[in-house]
Symmetry: C2
Subunit: 338 residues, 2 copies
């Protein structure tokens, strides 16, 4: 039974991580940290978590913590991950892994040097929807994939996670926040790597320093063309669609973790088959699989290198938004961790 | 009753134009031309068209022809349109209008100088689906449009229109052939202009000199981000989707002219309303409206300038595919013809 300490116990921990831990088999939460000690104690009491800290470093050094889950604002990931590594604690870092690829490299190199397990919480790798789409594409059900589309929008005006619109804390808007999910999901489903990206976005008054919406064109190494659209200016929606030479696989709300998803196989414009799947166990599986890796029973599917590779794509996308160019994506050696 | 002469009576005329004329009220076909006189006579006999020509210029000069419909391969549009203008005949040119914007400019200037009506056959301007989507977006049903997507694929390997894969005859692959429909449809639905475009595509052995598939990112002047995907490597599909701040309008086969289309209004991931529309009269309306314009009863909705503007977008897209840059779209004065 792996005991996790959650660094930065905020809205994400409350809404997603704790329900995940409640369903997990192989791990539990033994500690949390918040910047304010009174709030840390209140959260610990509310969620029946034994230890409360206002210091990331104290949490990392606690003998009651076997693994650290970093869910602080993106700008804090680097220092928090390094603290955990310094303390010799396996560390699972929320996405996006850092503020830029250089930070991710630092984390990966520190973890490698210390021999400490480092993983990235790309939760959609643990979903039934992405797993089934991946299997069905690999099965040849739609022939060669021509287009792959993933969109993620949510209403982000005056969002409770206020740091999301501060470029200094978030590193970017919806491209970094949810675009990384879309990109990772398409990579996983196609079992392919992104080699080039171009991106266009817009900001408005409420998006402050970051983009309010963006579209990304992705080129995969095997030729599939990807489209990603993300925004904090529309209702919650997560459509996924893979268009192949002989058919189409589609899920209207393919990445959602709350309600059942209908995966449709379409041919000639008609739904010829549909399958209901649910992603309700994704967060539980993510921490159970990390716990398995901590205990040496399995490999965690999203290595630090894989998180770093995703960050290279984000960096290229933001670079493209500024340069107006299609940007090559740097390929991180050994990033494939499937 | 306007009498049309069809220049280049090929597969498109047989499959789309003649069924359109059969439903038209205000016009008929009095002449056709094909390169081969025997074939021209055979087609004329088969479709009960009085006059057959093997010379575009003879057709244009015929006193039995009131208006010319140019549906030759794209590389012939310039000379054919100029022949019609020289003969003083109103001319409706198939899309894409030409091989490049310079050709379109020549056509528009010649038409203007001669005082001859010039229109472009962007048939989707005459569809119920695009008209309803435009009206509903204008109505504010989905709030401000954030994303607009249009896709058009069809199986194009060994297509009967063999000239489509010859760059010298077509000017381009599916971007020129059907991408121009997607672009024009989104412009029409959003009532907006494209100011920047970036495009990525790929070719394969069967696509010969042109692209087999491409994705385009469009930036509209009012901030909406557009996504267009076109290919000759998937089944026939024409999805249309407009994602607004408060809802989504979607049609799975939004541009098809053959079967009924369900326009869905979606909120919170659910279909809250749907409407059945049909585009079966689009080709008939297109020629009836051109005939009305010939007879001075109305303005034709797609001017030469509007076709030229679309070609500027195609040119920028092809330029972008080569340059790897997002390209600004040259704005043609007075192209708005709605």
């Amino acid at each position: 039974m792996t005991r996790f300490g959650i660094l930065g116990f905020g809205l994400h921990a409350v809404r997603r991580l704790m329900p995940g831990f409640a369903r997990a088999h192989n791990c539990q939460v033994s500690a949390l940290s918040r910047r304010d000690m009174a709030k840390a104690r209140a959260s610990a009491a509310e969620y029946k978590i034994p230890l409360a800290f206002d210091s990331a470093s104290d949490l990392c050094r606690s003998p009651e913590v076997d693994a650290v889950l970093v869910t602080t604002p993106n700008a804090c990931h680097l220092q928090d991950v390094l603290l955990a590594i310094d303390a010799g604690k396996p560390v699972l870092c929320e996405k996006p892994m850092g503020m830029n690829a250089a930070e991710c490299r630092q984390m990966v190199e520190a973890g490698g040097k210390a021999g400490v397990l480092l993983g990235v919480a790309q939760v959609f790798r643990f979903e039934d929807s992405t797993a089934r789409l991946r299997a069905r594409v690999a099965n040849g059900e739609i022939g060669r994939p021509i287009f792959a589309r993933s969109e993620f929008s949510y209403p982000g005006r005056n969002h409770a996670r206020a740091w999301l619109t501060s470029a200094a804390l978030s590193g970017g808007g919806p491209v970094a926040d949810v675009g990384v999910h879309c990109i990772d999901a398409l990579k996983y489903i196609l079992d392919d790597e992104v080699v080039r990206v171009s991106a266009r976005g817009f900001s408005d008054q409420d998006s402050r320093e970051v983009e309010a919406a963006a579209v990304l064109s992705l080129e995969f190494s095997h030729g599939t063309l990807g489209m990603v659209a993300v925004s904090t200016r529309a209702e919650y929606r997560t459509p996924l669609e893979i268009v192949g030479e002989t058919g189409v696989l589609r899920a209207d709300d393919g990445l959602n973790v709350e309600r059942p998803i209908s995966l449709q196989l379409r041919r000639g414009g008609n739904v010829v088959e549909s399958e209901l799947v649910s992603n309700q166990y994704a967060y539980a599986r993510q921490v159970d699989m990390f716990a398995d890796a901590v205990e040496g029973k399995a490999q965690f599917p999203v290595s630090g290198e894989a998180g770093w590779q995703n960050q290279e794509i984000l960096d290229a996308a933001y670079h493209s938004m500024k340069s107006g160019r299609t940007e090559d994506v740097i390929q991180v050696a050994a990033s494939k961790s499937r």
